[in-house]
Symmetry: D2
Subunit: 367 residues, 4 copies
């Protein structure tokens, strides 16, 4: 932490800061410049109140040097976190990018089974589906609840799909963890601390969606609650932020992908469905996310989106999803980060080009 | 709802929309213009999926005509909601503007008592204090919990103060309702629907803080969850929004005060402490809020803010708070919305000017 | 400037920074902490590229300590700038708050004269009116141009009103300065540097509107262009910023008033008409601005706003403006910053309460 | 345009709207619903003031149906605009994506020549370089002016590169058009209407950068000024928007690429250098833009960025640029939109994989 004193701060004011720190057992260095004095605490933070210091007489500004998140930070944890599922499927680091696909909400056994079968045959390994739905309006469909969880588990087992589903209440965490393979903490609950603490207590992976109004730093601080609870399996999910631009439902923050990769070791995926809110834009953002280096995607797909009970407008049809998967495979290959494609029947749905030693390599230029 | 067809939408596409609506028992009117056709449903919404219609072939845009909130809307409830406390103190409508004051967090009996006594003597009737604290960092002080609630209740009774305190978990709602007179739903939990539903089940007033990234419409939709549960005593609290401007912690959205007043019948107050994050700016925003027509304020004050355990930088000293109260009384009088000032000892701390028939009245101008 | 090295930055990397600075004749201090090293340059900035340093190997972050604006900063110019008009009317500092009123655009002699007479009789001293109009659409009315300027000048002289009008092109500045008493630089041109430079060459006051997407810092940097040209008479004008909230045309940033007052010595006024875009909300924001300490307001008024050629929706009727002036006088008095009210015929339109020694004063509380 | 009347609007109010329209020769249709009346004008807009109508008594809301831009809209101009350079190089539509590369500012003949030669050998056909620099601070390097233009022209001719450079003043447009092949209108001047009008008078292509605080609609409206002047050769350039997220200099709005493609026929490119402000993030955003379907990129590159006179932090080194070009070629191929790569010496710098009939094609899945 660095305390910048005002131009013309008095010696007494400077001494008073020093005393405040010394009395808390903190060693500080002082730097007297031509116009201003600066006091530096270069070491562990803690033991003082950064905001309180900012309002002390003579202080111009207090600058935080270290990041406020510790366990989520790449500093001190330089290697990428790679999350390993029970069958060895890996998420993050150099593992293939994953696709999580499925309907917004679980509606019925038939609906879920059709979608599950379809995406599985295209090589998808993670099935999403909401049983508890956070809806802006109390008059909208709120989900099937635990009945939905049972359907998810049954179908997940049938097709060898990992289940990703949202949990909304701290008290539900243990029960949902029985059914789900990955627990989703929704965007609206990113700073629901009792829920985050409960998610720190389980050992299954947690997918933490970014709040629409949350900075990257706040998002990483939220993950810190889960990590501090002892659960190291956190996947971050960018899903669009709230800006002045309203042509899409949210503004997909593709820049957050490389930013998170720099600041943190945690895997980060992108949800182009919620970020855009309109199915015609899902493909562009999905391809962009993979090109930017995301560790995966979460995409809504439904056998009949116009009759789906929630978020139909942003949900892809089977046909659109199949076409997009082909594009994503190619983009993944282009950026040397292949997409995870493991069809159930072991017949790849997409042909891949053979790796070639010259492909995309820059040759010496003729002078 | 109005469905605007694209230029050149085919007759078949238009018919297909009509059929969709007719099959759901909805009567629609059709308007054929020179270049485009428009289909209008002017009546009760519901029975159709607005988003799904937006993606049907030939549709350019679907425009929602009625507001999505019903119980919170001024339409159908033209009179202001006035919340009455057990002793007859009223909030909203033409009632005097209230001030809720107190420390950010309950720290100790002594701290709370000193602040309570001080603000009560200045005429404040509502004491705030956090027992459960939502903190961005898991390493910050998280509040005294139920011990804090007991301190609040005890001191509230001693000084005749109504207690305003936050509840963070659905499961805690009944217990917190035992101690608090007004239950606060924090900004980070504005869309925590299980919590909102529980708050709809109690009958004590709920103060619903706006999410930093939430539109006014989403905020009113959140209040709808509480109202739909049967609790009509909702107070809205604006506390700053997230924008590109970072000179203050948040951007105080003073414009939201008259906007909410127009759209809804619910009382709306402003929290200048969290909105600014710095005590030197609290006064300006507090005065602005009263001048703009807010039904009240929530202000943080502490006997020694620089030693407070949370948010010290935005907390006023006793001296600053006393000075601000004087200013607020004068601004309230200026806009014909006096501030509620009821000192415990029945001796007004502020002298008021006598109302005069000519004061501020525009006289006929000399021609 | 403070350079924070990464955890684990090598000694060679630290030395390399030092060499870069020494080679530019800059003296730096080094601070070795437990985990990180910090290099401080506490003195005049300049001579180095702050962004280039940020990307040098081993550097975590470069923190700017001094503000990037110099002439606009309160540091080094602690006293408020007070702008004095030819007749002695003052703007800023402890001078009464001014009101600039008039139609959005100059439409005709009759229109302008009616409005001028009306507002002058209410005590307004500054008349606004656009002759060159920046319109979002090329198909909207673009203003009367120099004909409009002549009307403004003529009517300004007739009623003893100072003329405030916008100039849009660098080449027009000298000509517009012949007609106007205050030259307005519009929001869309806040970073039109050739225009700002020309405005630095004149000696009449310049009102610099904030860009809707500009930070307070960028706004002050823009004023720096005018100040650096030698024109010290800059009035800042807040007019709403672009945020995710769309219930008003822009989000009025009332917090910018005290923030600018702290960072700069320049006067700052507020334009509630453009900030809200709807006449029903102009009054709330105007009152809030005065309560927050603004040095003045700019308000659109028209004898028949629904027939005005531009921005009619945000323009007050005569009746609304008269009522608002009465409210503003009272709020100004309440915050001890009276409104400038100087009717042409020297008959005050508003009766003021007499100052009283006890008014609003906090009396000793009975113990 | 659709006028939605309030619940309970009186028949007289409805009639008054009808009269207003009829008196302007506008035919309107009326729709009486259960709760509200709606008045529709489905045809050409114009002849009425949409804002004025919004404030008429009894009106709840006025909804614009047609887009406010005409010439820029895809409606009425369904085919993509393809801009053809003198040698037949095409921009937009199905033409290969272009890369515009070069230093932020022209500094010297040697600097520019080195960069030009380097990027040309990698196949780049468009050279950027600022001669007139809009700088936030008046104390920063402001460009070489016309001397810089001469250097650009000379080097452009030497290497067969098209010159892209910014013009900041309306009066400079004809002169800059002598030197440049593409005239850039900068982000800060997006709504500088006198400048846009001048750019409508030339016939060389104009690259219009989006304002950091401008919506997509405002950006298209700005292009309308140029198109309405008779210049159909407009290239849009997204360069990051201003949001609450500050981890990058701006928030790259990748979603704007498909949105613009839908609303308009104009080509749209992305500037990842200004959007991110940090060279380490340029690659991710450049790849994402191509994956999302951008018609091109503008990227800053310099032989020694840390010594460049402006924006060094966001400028790539030669090595980084070469690596990125290889990645972009591969991503372009993956999305079936190859990058334009035409090395001067006709020796391709990048080997491309041969197109194969099976590559990326979805094969029938085994059942």
């Amino acid at each position: 932490m660095i305390i910048v004193m005002q131009h013309g701060a008095s010696e007494a004011q400077i001494q008073s800061i020093s005393k405040y720190l010394t009395s808390r057992g903190i060693h500080a260095e002082r730097l007297d410049g031509h116009e201003q004095t600066v006091i530096g605490i270069v070491g562990k933070s803690g033991g003082y109140d950064i905001n309180a210091m900012a309002t002390m007489p003579g202080v111009q500004e207090v600058v935080r040097v270290s990041t406020p998140f510790r366990l989520a930070a790449r500093t001190g944890h330089p290697d990428d976190t790679i999350i390993t599922m029970p069958d060895g499927t890996r998420i993050g680091g150099d593992a293939p990018s994953i696709v999580i696909a499925g309907p917004c909400a679980v509606e019925s056994y038939d609906q879920l089974r059709r979608t599950a079968e379809f995406v599985r045959n295209l090589g998808v390994r993670f099935l999403r589906g909401g049983a508890f739905k956070p809806r802006t309006s109390p008059y909208s469909f709120q989900g099937l609840g635990f009945d939905g969880l049972e359907l998810l588990k049954k179908i997940g087992e049938e097709f060898g799909l990992f289940i990703v589903t949202e949990v909304m209440e701290p008290a539900h965490v243990p029960a949902v963890a029985e059914f789900a393979d990955v627990l989703q903490c929704g965007s609206r609950n990113m700073q629901n601390y009792p829920l985050l603490r409960q998610l720190g207590n389980v050992r299954k992976p947690v997918m933490l969606k970014r709040g629409a109004g949350a900075t990257v730093e706040e998002w990483l601080m939220a993950s810190e609650y889960i990590l501090a609870g002892g659960n190291q399996n956190v996947i971050l999910c960018e899903r669009g932020i709230r800006t002045f631009e309203t042509s899409l439902r949210f503004t997909p923050d593709i820049g957050a992908v490389p930013v998170v990769k720099k600041l943190s070791h945690l895997p980060v995926i992108v949800d182009p469905s919620h970020a855009t809110g309109q199915r015609e834009f899902v493909g562009s953002i999905a391809r962009a996310a993979i090109a930017a280096g995301a560790d995966g995607l979460m995409i809504e797909v439904h056998h009949d989106p116009d009759r789906s009970l929630s978020d139909g407008a942003q949900t892809l049809t089977f046909e659109q999803f199949e076409e997009l998967m082909g594009e994503l495979v190619r983009v993944g290959d282009a950026v040397n980060r292949p997409l995870l494609v493991e069809p159930f029947n072991h017949t790849p749905a997409f042909s891949r080009r053979e790796p070639s030693p010259t492909m995309g390599v820059v040759e010496p230029r003729a002078k």
